[in-house]
């Protein structure tokens, strides 16, 4: 999931412990994923593909729409599968059709570069998104993983200088994660905070800087311009930074999520999506629409409140979960 660049070999040879721990984390993840995958696959076959007829396609359409995948993406997926079954390319057998559907959905969901690039020294991550989508919480979780599980030194930049007590919230996460925090006054220039954080990271030889930004609606063009400026200021310190710009999208978001991703991408060029709050009943199908229409991959998912509940995105598992009742 994470591309550490040259840092991997260095860490692996000199510090065997974090490396092992890291494997441990990912094994845990894989195990929990495969368990749920199995259960879900059984559920889908039971509910959706008992008989293949007109009603099957209608119910599939309904399932995808109810998951917020949106009308265009839903229509494309259903038409494709229906065509493949009609033409005989896929046998009209419940289990086979189900597997093929999951393949198609996984194909739609996996677009672009799936790994998170942390090869920069320091690597700079920036989180953006509309208000209340879980940026600060996600940053806390990423910081914790990088710091506690992988033994990297992390600096958090509290560039949300707008929302009351946003820096306090991040400070609490920094403390839990054992990361350093760089902050400015409330109302300070967010670009300056990001700039200072990267300067500090270079001076201290830190591995990763994670920049928290204020939530903003994509319709506020002045705030979007401010965000583009933060990015430009970061690039003044390290030309190729931020190495990863991620947008957090709330899984309960409907079709507006597509607009969000589009407009944010226009101003700061997104590398990926963090799909948050997947622990509710929302399926986050908007991520499919974003991947299929804008070619921005989902990289991480948030499935709960605890630190371990941030996971790498698995297209196959996600596709299966999307269709479970």
């Amino acid at each position: 999931m994470i591309d550490l660049g040259s840092r991997v070999s260095a860490n692996a040879s000199t510090e065997a412990e974090p490396e092992e721990q890291r494997r441990g984390v990912f094994r845990r993840l894989r195990e929990s994923l495969s368990k749920s995958r199995q259960a879900l696959a059984e559920e889908i076959s039971a509910s959706l593909f008992d008989r293949i007829d007109e009603e099957t396609w209608e119910r599939l359409e309904q399932a995808l729409i109810l998951a917020d995948a949106g009308a265009p993406t839903t229509a494309a997926v259903v038409e494709r599968l229906e065509h493949e079954v009609d033409s005989g390319a896929v046998p009209a057998d419940g289990a086979l059709v189900r597997d093929r559907l999951i393949e198609i959905l996984a194909e739609v969901a996996s677009t672009g570069r799936a790994r998170i690039d942390l090869s920069g020294e320091p690597a700079v991550l920036m989180l953006v998104g509309v208000n209340g989508t879980g940026k600060t919480t996600t940053i806390g979780k990423i910081a914790w993983h990088l710091s506690k599980e992988m033994g990297l030194s992390v600096i958090l930049a509290a560039a949300d200088t707008y929302r009351a007590a946003a820096a306090e919230q991040l400070a609490e996460w920094a403390q839990r994660a054992g990361a350093d925090l760089i902050r400015g006054e409330e109302g300070a220039d967010p670009g300056a905070v990001a700039f200072d954080a990267i300067s500090a990271a270079r001076a201290r030889g830190a591995d990763v800087v994670i920049v928290d930004t204020a939530g903003r609606l994509h319709t506020q063009s002045n705030l979007m311009e401010e965000l583009a400026k933060v990015k430009r200021v970061i690039a003044k310190q390290i030309p190729e930074a931020p190495h990863e710009t991620l947008i957090s999208i709330d899984a309960t978001t409907g079709q507006n999520g597509l607009r969000q991703a589009k407009v944010f991408s226009e101003s700061v060029d997104l590398d990926g999506v963090v799909l948050t709050k997947l622990d509710g009943t929302a399926k986050g199908g908007i991520a499919l629409a974003i991947a299929s229409e804008l070619e921005i991959p989902v990289k991480l998912i948030g499935v709960g409140e605890t630190l371990e509940d941030l996971r790498p995105f698995d297209p196959g598992e996600y596709a299966a979960a999307l269709l479970a009742e």
Binding site: Q220, G254, N256, G280
Partner: protein, 454 residues
């Protein structure tokens, strides 16, 4: 795609007029378009299904002879049905006869509860009510200091016990204090919670039992998708909410969640949160929401805002000046300030119907700082220069540019634009409408005003 719902319906139903009545296949075709439009607006799939079914019956055989065109006729029916489904005219909060009115706020994480609490507090402060807010979100880091900051900004007293106390106890304690301190209103802020979280949901119903609120409000993000229904149903069960606050309506989400929640729970939407500032909080208008969902713009809100800002007499004077070709840069400055008082320009444009068709304006990146600059330039001119910009020669240009912190070319640009505007006003006074291109250039909304010499 939705802005064109009317257009699409019109083309779908274009040949109906010759026959006079809508046939079943006409209606089916129209329903397909409406269904897609509603889904795109995030109205719940099941709600869409039953809605279009009911709609179909009303449209079938509907007389279209008298209407200008059948597409409009169907749109009108859809609009009426949507508005009635959304609750007819606005509803009100229940208030206590004596003692504090207790209002419990609940919702998912990130839906905007804390901000909504402060906005609601300000709403009551404006009516000279003494407002207290109980800080019962002890889970999210820094939620309490956030509430203290925004609550005090709204002029409310915040009852907080840090994060170690139990939320139910905090609520009871705050209610006791609110009673002894004779507050008019107590707003209880709670932690965001997932509707599937059993423990937190039962905590919420505990707070409800102990504080016996007069109103329980569910805070719903306007951007919520299909899941809004499940969320609303769960909260209805645990907290028996009485009404809904829709947040983040200042974005461009269609807000179909509003319709879904109302349709499924029958609870009215009472307030709409429409911006970052605490004042951006209004009573909810179901009819306007229906238009928004259909992509028809919010003309009524726009007219109200304009009426609130524009002085009738001033407007008449201005018209007279335009007619007599006496419009000056001073008038232009006043005009610009008045328009800006209505809110950010991008928001105003969003409220205009048919902006889908005027792509130039819709996609225009309106830079408010451009307007700041224009203001600065005009303010750096002498009164004489404002009346007659032709006075502005080379050295005056330089002085104005220095005074306003801009460059000579910016001053030139403004003077040229103003000239153009006067030409346009003359033609308008003669009864001709300017085209979209001209309008876009003048508002500064076009990619960059291309100045053409006539």
């Amino acid at each position: 795609m939705f802005d064109q719902l009317s257009d699409r319906l019109q083309s779908t139903l274009s040949d109906v007029r010759s026959r006079g009545k809508l046939s079943e296949s006409d209606v089916d075709a129209a329903m397909r378009e409406i269904r897609l439009a509603l889904l795109e607006a995030d109205v719940n799939f099941k709600v869409v299904k039953s809605f279009t079914k009911a709609l179909k019956e009303r449209c079938l055989g509907s007389d279209v002879l008298n209407s200008l065109d059948p597409g409009q006729q169907v749109v009108k029916i859809v609009k009426e049905e949507l508005a009635s489904l959304m609750g007819g005219t606005g509803s009100e909060l229940a208030m206590a006869h004596s003692g504090p009115t207790v209002i419990l706020m609940a919702g998912l994480q990130g839906s905007g509860k804390t901000t909504a609490c402060a906005k609601l507090a300000l709403h009551f402060r404006k009516m000279n009510k003494d407002v207290g807010i109980a800080a019962c979100d002890v889970y999210r880091p820094a939620a309490v200091p956030q509430l203290v900051t925004v609550g005090e900004r709204a002029g409310a007293h915040v009852y907080e016990k840090g994060t170690d106390a139990d939320p139910v106890e905090i609520a009871e304690w705050a209610l006791q204090l609110a009673k002894t301190e004779r507050r008019d209103v107590l707003i209880v802020d709670t932690a965001g919670r997932l509707h599937v979280d059993q423990d937190l949901m039962s905590e919420l119903s505990q707070i409800r039992k102990k504080t016996k609120p007069h109103d329980v409000l569910l805070v719903v993000d306007a951007m919520t998708g299909q899941d809004a229904v499940g969320v609303a149903e769960s909260f209805a069960e645990a907290a028996e909410f009485d009404g809904v606050v829709m947040t983040k309506l200042d974005g461009d989400a269609r807000g179909g969640a509003a319709l879904s929640v109302k349709a499924v729970t029958g609870k009215p939407i009472l307030f709409a949160s429409t911006g970052e500032k605490l004042e951006d909080f209004d009573k909810f208008h179901p009819d306007r929401m229906a238009q928004r969902i259909l992509g028809m713009g919010d003309v009524l809100t726009l007219i109200e805002k304009a009426e609130a800002q524009v002085d009738e007499k001033q407007a008449a004077d201005l018209q007279e000046k335009m007619r007599k070709d006496q419009f000056t840069l001073e008038d232009f400055l006043q005009q610009m300030r008045q328009v800006r008082k209505m809110g950010p320009l991008s928001g105003i444009i969003g409220m205009l119907p048919g902006m889908g068709a005027m792509k130039q304006l819709k996609d225009a990146d309106i830079d408010e700082r451009e307007l700041d600059r224009t203001e600065a330039i005009i303010l750096s001119m002498t009164p004489a220069e404002r009346v007659d910009p032709h006075l502005i020669n080379g050295s005056r240009r330089k002085r104005i540019a220095n005074g306003s912190g801009t460059r000579v070319q910016h001053v030139n640009q403004l003077v040229k634009q103003f000239d153009q505007m006067r030409v346009m006003m003359r033609s308008m006074a003669n009864g001709k409408m300017p085209d979209a291109q001209q309008m876009a250039q003048l508002s500064g909304a076009a990619p960059r005003p291309k100045v053409r010499r006539r």
